[in-house]
């Protein structure tokens, strides 16, 4: 009864105070135990319960539990568990706490039944997660983290503005379906869009995920974007514009992923592409499509975490995740290589792997609604997924030419985490019914029909054939130590350069301003020192006479005031 209502994700936040007391060794056990507790609770909760707290005049729905919440809550708990297991070796308390607070915020946001609660957890995910990037503790990671935080906070602020306006228009803060018909809902839409990495709002993702720590990236990959997918599915199902946005999201990352050198960034681009499928599903908005989105998010979190884990293990052992430096690691890391292949097969949607049973839901939903062009784009994107995540990542990391690196196999706990994740990917692939049972709507879908399986195999096998031929002709894009500019060049290079250029012309003025600023600050500081500093006018120990003088002043003030107002 109590368990049914008490929002257990609050336990996740308990880790912050506990971290002050316990050592990292104790913490890591709690870090595994709490997600399990959360998972069990969500499994046992009754549907359609809610837990409302009354904060002053606001009714905050801390828990709103329905089927959509359930599936996302379950996978978030699962992802938190697997990510923490993968990070078992991490001695850094900051990372431990950030990871658990981050997952707690994400789960809290999924449970939130109103926009205000959502906002708090929304910002919570932003603030907690940035520490996973900063934990790398290099200046570059600091700058990257700042960029990431800035964008995430802006997303939260836009959400807040939208919420306030929405409240003004409708008098309700309930987090439910919206129409894109007012400024309020557009603001909320854009805020979700930033976190969901819509085209042109997406660069934070590819920028930050490769910058996080080995274990941090695994955790990062699971929550922020999928939270946004959840929020979109909750508030904007059936919004047509999402179909086109989603289609664009599946398309453009393919090409970038193909030429990117850092394998973790390849995976970040591929993540963006997978989000596109989910967004299309939300845009279609039929029961089947939403089922597809939820299922695909579920499967996607697992196989994407698996891929990040395997590349992370490589980074952990070799110190790099760049394709140009890697290759031939299957000799000494065969188990990791196998797990990576499982992840690759899952994301490429091979039959018997998880991606297949979830993506086809979305594809069929698109086809039933007769979006022909979109359907072709998605099929095209499926081939693209195969090219970068299915082939490129395992091929360049573990096979390809021999880099000469002979790292040891990943540590046992990482293998455990990867093994468990792989097992889940395969289990979902073989018995999709298990997952379908937890989807938001009734499922009567059979992914394993002859034509489905054969069509998918045709698509994939011929794509691989193409790869073999291109490889044989030596026409694959070379792995070169390089980066590729994306839209973010606008705010990382063009605008700052422009301002630098402009400001260069007004050097004198700037100097004057800075001098004035400095003197002003000095004056303020000296004033503060004089009055409230350690020996300042107000803060020094007063003599009794002075004290009494002040009493007299206050008394006379009151008297004068009373006299003057009442005569």
């Amino acid at each position: 009864m109590f368990l049914n209502i008490f929002p257990i994700f609050l336990l996740f936040f308990l880790m912050l105070p506990l971290s002050l007391i316990f050592s990292w060794k104790t913490l890591r056990i709690l870090l595994l135990a709490i997600p399990i507790l959360g998972f069990l609770q969500i499994l046992s909760m009754d549907l359609n319960t809610s837990y409302v707290i009354n904060l002053m005049n606001l009714e905050l729905q801390l828990v709103r539990f329905d089927k959509l919440t359930r599936v996302f809550g379950l996978i978030f708990c699962l992802a938190a568990f697997l990510g923490n297991l993968y990070a078992w070796h991490v001695k850094d308390k900051i990372q431990q706490v950030a990871a658990i607070m981050y997952s707690g915020s994400a789960i809290g946001a999924v449970f939130a039944g109103d926009f205000v609660t959502l906002f708090f957890f929304w910002e919570g995910t932003a603030i907690a997660s940035v520490f996973l990037i900063w934990a790398r503790r290099t200046p570059a990671a600091y700058h990257t983290g700042m960029r990431y935080l800035l964008i995430q906070i802006i997303s939260g602020l836009i959400l807040l503005m939208g919420t306030v306006l929405h409240y003004k228009y409708t008098g309700s803060i309930e987090f439910s379906k919206l129409e894109l018909d007012s400024l309020a809902s557009w603001l909320i839409f854009i805020s979700f869009g930033i976190k969901c990495a819509f085209p042109f709002l997406h660069n934070w993702l590819q920028d930050s995920y490769p910058a996080a720590t080995v274990t941090g990236t695994v955790i990062l990959s699971a929550f922020t974007t999928k939270l946004a997918v959840y929020a979109l599915a909750r508030a904007f199902p059936g919004t047509e514009i999402l179909i086109y946005i989603g289609a664009a999201m599946t398309l453009f990352p393919i090409f970038f992923a193909e030429i990117e050198n850092d394998l973790r960034r390849v995976l970040a681009y591929s993540l963006n592409n997978q989000l596109g499928f989910m967004v299309v599903g939300i845009g279609i908005g039929t029961e089947m499509a939403l089922n597809g989105t939820a299922a695909h998010a579920f499967a996607h979190i697992l196989y994407k975490a698996l891929l990040f884990m395997s590349v992370g293990a490589v980074l952990f052992r070799t110190g790099t995740s760049k394709a140009s430096e890697l290759g031939g690691l299957y000799r000494t890391m065969p188990i990791t290589a196998t797990f990576c292949l499982v992840g690759a097969a899952s994301i490429s949607a091979f039959p018997l792997f998880s991606g297949f049973v979830t993506k086809s839901l979305i594809l069929d939903a698109v086809a039933y609604k007769h979006y022909q062009l979109i359907w072709f784009i998605l099929i095209f994107a499926s081939a693209g997924v195969l090219s970068h995540s299915g082939i490129k990542v395992p091929f360049f990391a573990f096979f390809s030419h021999d880099s000469g690196l002979r790292p040891k196999e990943a540590p046992f706990h990482m293998l455990m985490a990867m093994g468990l994740t792989s097992a889940l990917c395969i289990i979902i692939g073989i018995t999709p019914g298990l997952l379908y049972e937890y989807l938001p709507f009734e499922v009567s879908y059979k992914p394993y029909s002859t034509y489905h399986v054969i069509n998918q195999l045709q698509l994939l096998c011929f794509a691989i054939l193409s790869f073999i031929i291109i490889k044989w002709l030596n026409l694959l894009p070379q792995e070169i130590r390089s980066i590729n500019i994306d839209f973010d060049i606008i705010y990382r290079k063009v605008i700052p350069d422009f301002f630098k250029h402009m400001l260069g012309k007004f050097e004198v003025i700037i100097k004057i301003i800075s001098v004035v600023k400095l003197t002003l600050i000095e004056i303020i500081i000296s004033l503060l020192d004089k009055f409230i500093g350690s020996d300042g006018r107000i803060s020094r120990i007063w003599s009794t006479g002075n004290m009494v003088l002040w009493i007299a002043i206050v008394l006379s003030l009151i008297l004068v005031l009373n006299y003057s107002t009442n005569i």
Binding site: L20, G536, I538, I541, N546, V548, N562
Partner: protein, 508 residues
């Protein structure tokens, strides 16, 4: 639990609750001296506090059932006799004060022998009990002069309790002396004010005074009485800039004294201010309004900033906390000065929440002080590793001072912001938020020293008897609990505020 049978069967006992509330600590105080043994005295103290706490809870329940409980002392009906009058406001604060007294008495188990000279312990406990009964009396009485008497009982015993710090630091004596001078001036002002009121109305019962001055136009006598009472009580309540006795008194007194004073003494004085403003002088709304808006509100805001800034400059935990108290009192007075239901609710809730948080902080500081012999910043570097439990609890208290969501401090600040929004004064909203930033600064400073500075040694050195540990975590838990569950605090405070504001708006 609520069966009416019990109430009727023990009617006589329940009827006498108001007087028993004061009587228990008051009567147990001489017992301490009579037995003369410090161990026995300690247990007497604890049991008296426990009894007072239980009674306060019973009273609260009674208030919930019957509304206002009025008790005629000695069977003399008011206005001739002294009336004890319990409504939501003082029932709620009685729980705070007696609860804090109880916790402090338990805290004394583990710390008294280290803080106070052995031969003075019995007397210290006697004063402690007297102080409690005085504070409870101030809260419960409905008679203006009786209030003065209780205020003096509590103040006089407080001076003694502060002076006991001389055991560790001789400056406690001057602190106590300054406090005595200021406190006496305050009490004198207060009694002068009451004298004027008596001259104007011929009665000392507060509700009677309120009735009688309603008929009058505001005349000079009442205005002067009002000014004297406000300044007198403002002195006791450390209204900025009349706070100057407070930092010294808090930082040089023994920590149990500081714990108890910080969580209750100023709160009770502020209660008295609220009581006089809204239950006595409410019949002169224009006078009230002009003073509150032109004097109390600016002073409150000034306190928030100036005292907060000073707290940032301090290099000693105790002094930092003392100045932070002054700044927090600013918040409370700001809430009062809004003259709205939400504002008053915020003030009353903050009385409660700040009481708990500050008690927590001072208890932690006391433990740190006993472990290291000092609470200077330079001596507590790396404390997070050496005293993890205490530091964690301290941090919780600090977060509550800032007003981080999930702690008690957030609730009251949130209410305060709401009250300011209701008034439409966005400047004040900004002031509250900016002064919270100052609180972040001074709390962060301590956190940084505790957790990020390198400590000279890394061994764990936690002076934490079971009783202190219990108190620390009871307080830490309640700080978080009242931050999450507002049903108790906000409900009672808003009822109290409603009652007070009803008087006020009716007059208007």
């Amino acid at each position: 639990m609520n069966s009416p049978d019990i109430i009727t069967s023990t009617k006589s006992f329940l009827d006498h609750l108001p007087v028993l509330q004061v009587l228990f600590p008051f009567a147990f105080a001489p017992l301490c001296v009579l037995f003369g043994h410090r161990k026995i005295a300690l247990y007497i103290t604890i049991s008296a506090c426990a009894l007072a706490f239980v009674i306060s809870l019973l009273l609260l329940r009674q208030v919930l059932i019957v509304g206002v409980v009025s008790y005629e002392l000695g069977g003399w009906p008011p206005p001739v006799g002294i009336e004890y009058r319990v409504d939501f406001l003082n029932a709620f604060l009685l729980v705070l004060v007696s609860g804090m007294a109880f916790l402090t008495s338990i805290y004394l188990i583990g710390t008294m022998h280290a803080e106070i000279e052995e031969d003075k312990q019995t007397l210290f406990l006697t004063c402690f009990l007297l102080c409690i009964s005085g504070l409870l009396g101030v809260l419960i009485t409905g008679d203006a002069f009786n209030l003065f008497v209780f205020l003096e009982i509590s103040s006089l015993s407080t001076y003694v309790m502060v002076a006991q710090g001389a055991n560790k630091d001789k400056r406690a004596l001057t602190a106590a002396f300054d406090y005595l001078v200021m406190g006496t001036i305050g009490a004198t002002f207060f009694v002068i004010g009451i004298g004027f009121l008596y001259a104007a109305t011929g009665t000392l019962n507060m509700y009677d005074i309120a009735e009688r001055i309603r008929e009058d136009l505001p005349n000079r006598t009442i205005q002067v009485a009002f000014a004297f009472i406000l300044v007198g009580l403002g002195l006791k309540g450390a209204l900025f800039p009349l706070h100057t006795w407070l930092p010294k008194a808090y930082s040089f007194s023994p920590t149990p004294t500081a714990v108890f004073l910080a969580s209750t003494a100023t709160k009770v004085a502020i209660y008295a201010i609220i009581r006089f403003l809204f239950s006595v002088f409410h019949s002169h709304p224009s006078m009230l309004e002009s003073v509150l808006i032109n004097i109390v509100m600016p002073l409150g805001i000034l306190a928030m900033f100036a005292a907060g800034g000073i707290a940032f400059y301090q290099r000693d935990l105790k002094r930092m906390l003392a100045f932070s108290s002054v700044s927090q009192i600013g918040y409370i007075l700001l809430g009062v000065s809004f003259m709205s239901t939400i504002g008053l609710t915020a003030a009353v809730v903050h009385l409660f929440n700040h009481g708990i948080s500050k008690a927590l902080l001072f208890v932690c500081t006391g433990i740190i002080f006993l472990s290291f012999g000092s609470s200077f910043y330079k001596n507590i570097k790396g404390l997070g590793r050496r005293m993890p439990w205490t530091s964690a609890a301290f941090l919780i208290g600090g977060l509550s001072l800032i007003g981080i969501p999930g702690t008690a401090g957030f609730i009251s600040k949130w209410l305060l912001v709401q009250a300011a929004i209701e008034q439409g004064s966005w400047l004040i909203v900004a002031a509250i938020l900016i002064s919270s930033l100052i609180a972040i600064l001074y709390v962060w400073q301590v956190t940084e020293i505790m957790y990020f500075a390198k400590s000279p040694s890394t061994e764990t050195k936690e002076y934490l008897g079971p009783s202190s540990f219990l108190i620390v975590w009871i307080l830490a838990f309640s700080t978080v609990f009242f931050g999450l569950n507002t049903s108790f605090t906000v409900e009672y405070s808003s009822k109290a505020a409603n009652l007070l504001m009803n008087n006020f708006t009716m007059e208007k």
